[in-house]
Symmetry: D2
């Protein structure tokens, strides 16, 4: 970290800042310019909290040199992390395809969809039992009954299941059913929840918040990693911008950027990323071409009867076409799907 002193900082203010740095375990290295003094902090191996320093008298601002995440960083762990879920390996040469409805609505609905996506090439099944909804008057999910239906769909199809958890005290329940537990975009900075899944024995699919930077996503992963769970899959699902034709703006550059910054697998959610089923296939192809390790796609056998997200769901036959085209793109970038 670099500390920029004010042009009118006094020598005693400078002395105080140096003293604090040393007290925090760092070494201060001074550069005296004509206008102001800069202090380079030689660290003690872990990130410094800039707040403590920035508020000292005489300090104008601080600027980070090192990134604030460590366990999530590729420098810390150069090899790609592979997250194994049953027979599925996320982060390897094969693109992982996760498909299913937004929400578990009934036993019949889920079994039908699960069978349909399995047959068309999905390797994992998604479906929400606990649904975070903007309105208290919208369908909130089937709860534990939904988890039981997911487990039954797994028994029938053999597909591992991915489902969301929305509060810390439900982590034991949800992880007792799920093969992968999902942290949704609205909960990416629900630190109590990150703490809870960090202590669980279950892979975590961590979605980027619609209001979150790439760095904040990696800090959220750092929470999970620092509590002992190293099986984290990151998911880019679109951020909120001024554009309103699409539900969110999918940040495609985040895919290669994340692959550069971290060793964790990175997948893409083109359904929430666009909000329109017509855009799901081209954006999915883009994601694979950009280096994504997988996709999580909403598929419904009857989108026009879906209780949520029907307008962004693919029908099984459209999903089959997508899988066929993805296989070609995967091969073009040296992978398989």
């Amino acid at each position: 970290m670099i500390v920029i002193m004010k042009t009118d900082a006094t020598p005693s203010q400078l002395t105080n800042v140096v003293a604090l740095i040393e007290q925090m375990g760092g070494q201060a290295h001074l550069s005296r310019g004509e206008e102001r003094t800069l202090i380079g902090i030689i660290g003690n191996g872990r990130p410094f909290d800039p707040d403590r320093i920035e508020q000292m008298d005489g300090v104008e601002k601080t600027m980070p040199v090192l990134r604030p995440f460590k366990r999530a960083s590729r420098e810390f762990h150069p090899q790609d992390t592979l997250v194994t879920v049953g027979d599925v390996v996320v982060g390897g040469s094969q693109i992982t395809l996760i498909a299913g409805p937004c929400a578990v609505e009934s036993r019949d609905q889920l079994i039908e969809i699960a069978s349909a996506v399995k047959e068309r090439g999905a390797q994992m099944l998604r479906g929400g039992a606990f649904k975070p909804r903007t309105s208290p008057y919208s369908f909130q999910g089937l709860g534990e009954e939904g988890l039981r239906i997911l487990a039954e769909a797994r028994d029938v199809t053999g597909l591992p299941i991915v489902t969301e958890v929305i509060q810390p005290e439900l982590v034991p329940l949800v992880t007792s059913y799920a093969d992968v537990v999902q942290i949704g975009a609205r909960n990416m900075q629900n630190f109590a929840l990150l703490h809870a899944v960090g202590q669980a024995q279950c892979p975590v699919l961590l979605k980027r918040g619609m209001m979150s930077t790439v760095e904040e996503l990696l800090m959220a992963a750092e929470y999970i990693l620092s509590h002992g769970n190293t099986r984290v899959i990151l998911c880019e699902r679109g951020i909120r911008t001024f554009e309103t034709y699409t539900r969110n703006t999918l940040d495609i550059s985040a895919v290669p950027l994340l692959k550069q910054l971290t060793h964790l697998p990175v997948i893409v959610d083109p359904s929430h990323g666009t909000g329109k089923w017509e855009l799901v296939a081209p954006v999915s192809r883009a994601a694979v071409a950009a280096g994504a390790d997988g996709l999580i796609v909403e598929v419904h056998t009857h989108p026009d009867q879906a209780l949520s997200d029907g307008s962004q769901s693919l029908k099984p036959e459209t999903f089959a076409d997508l899988v066929a085209s993805l296989r070609k793109v995967a091969v073009a970038v040296g992978r398989t799907a």
Copy 2:
């Protein structure tokens, strides 16, 4: 709600949409234009979920006419809601001033600050015992020990206390100490938490998420109201934009807009809204001039030693100057402070 049919929608698709609307309890009113048919839905007294309709074959899109919040709306409840906390009335003619440190750091620190802000005109004390922090390596708050210190500061100064709760299972604990429980910006759409405070017997200070619309803020309030707790205070605290000189962009227009849309009191957090203590005073005056019912301001007796948010905290003497200037602005807009 209005349903826009596609230009090539078939008569049977139209029939199906009308049937669904009637099944959901509404009446469909058709307008056949040259190019397409529109359907006006005459409601049954409560908002319709647009998802169900939008995904039907033949439908291009739906457009809301009524707003999706009801209990929070001024049409539903024309008079201003006053939230009474001890002797303090939030939403009346007097501007409510809430002040204190970002975090409770120690007994001595809090008692000192509480006494200082009480003496300078604060009517409530703020201070975090459970802190949501972007980094797992930052100070996370003192927990229940912090709550005990807050209660002691209340005993010493007589100031009611406002403190944050960050997970549902802590609501009973936090509300057993707090006079007002705060939902932070990152938790504005933590629906399990909204549900929990909605069932509590404690006023709620609900902060707008940094990337949440005014409508989403009101829907979050609707969650709390619909679970039975009507004592909700809204707080504008800045939204995330492309501007980086300030920590957030305080949305001043949201203040009169909210006063128009809802009966709930609206306060402003100029400390998080700007992130710079030098901007806190002018922005506080702006908030009162715009019609805010109160302010929540970070004050610290030793900002340069604060464990968090020191660079946006006022010193007690600066807070005193602010209070003096606010009194003049309050009078100018027909209120008191």
Copy 3:
């Protein structure tokens, strides 16, 4: 367009609105609900200006049904527009590769780069002679001397040239040299400039503004088309968001969305879209996979000596690798490169 009347609108206010609609050449179709009256406007073949109606007494708001662009819309012109530039066809089955430096710096620099990109597979040469720069102290381009150098590079390599025009009175000069004239992101809503190139006999490469919606981009194209120039190529180059790791956020969904909404060719600028040369290749592959008709890429033989944008420029050998990988992705989506 639909007009939503206020709940307390009077009959005479309604009469006035209907009269205005008819005076503007439309027919008003009323839907009287229990709470309020809606008016559907059956148009006269062209978009209505909502401002006139929205400000009438008794009107709550208006909502567009038809899109405000016409000549740019695919409904108006279902077949893809192909823009031919010399031997190059933009918008056909072959992906168009435009490459070159940010700015023309000298004769030697440009000839060297032009030859290098030609040899590696570029079909057009880019290079700025007039540079819009945020700071008045930055290099502003060589002006007409730069245009002469571009023409010479065309003579040497046979590559058609793309260069930017930044003010209306320079359009005759720039189009006397250029094969394609570029409107930069900052000038997307410089209507006098759009008007001027709309009257020119030269294809236009129109870049999306960094804070412009897809609809505004199409309205800017509509300006050019409505002044008589139908050879317009659209370019997605990233929008401004809160994310700061990348220079802009490339809106990949805009590519298939534009292909759906308009008949004009759509290309992508991955250099400005990311701001980092390491991200250019994966994002270029994503663009082609998403359906882009071409790419405009910054290439420099000595990026570390470039007078602008060096950090986002590829070296010729990296560009060659990119072209090789793009050919595979193009084939995977049924095209060539």
Copy 4:
């Protein structure tokens, strides 16, 4: 500026960077840490272009210490700049009130409005003769005829006139009529236009672009100042965000921030900043309370017949109420209105 070298930078790369810095007229000051070397550049009195350095081999990134604007900065010119227009002084203790219609529509309309706002306390008249409009099908202004009408309104009322110029070659014409020439938000980075008004003998009202940072606004002012025109008035008019209830998000913090960073006067446009006339009065009061030197407000005698922006225009009587309330707020913050 500080240069951060990569962890694996070689000694010869370091030597090259130092050589370049010295060649550009600076002195390089090295700080060798355990992990990497930092270089502080001691300047030669003017801002360095970071691009040249950032793209050298071995450089990770650069970080500015000094701000990139100079003539616009308060450090360069500590006293407030007062811009005198006839009898009106912008930037002094009195708040300047500029009012009038969005567009000049006819002689009768403008004279009527000008007289109405003069009588209610306006000190300057606004009105557009050349209108930048998103759609080519919207009213584009009366052109020079509009300028003549503005001049006549000045003769009748004595109010100086503010009107917009939208292309460089019209600067001589517009400044031959105008007392203050306006650069609109969409043209804030139209550098040819900034250059042209920078050479004119006329005060400039420079509006912040809806996509522009405070720093970019100051760089745009720097363009004007560096071409010799020092009479620049800055105007905050709202930025584009994800919020859609208001037309733009007025950045109230920008007012005190600009007053801190620059010596130029700062006014606020609450009409475009909110897009809703009901919000204009409270936001105007907020602007004055935050330290704005003036307001530019849209007023129309018949908003429901306005050719543009009617829904955000005040009627004269509402404007009169606003002026009365502003006088109280101005006094509360030690000024007059």
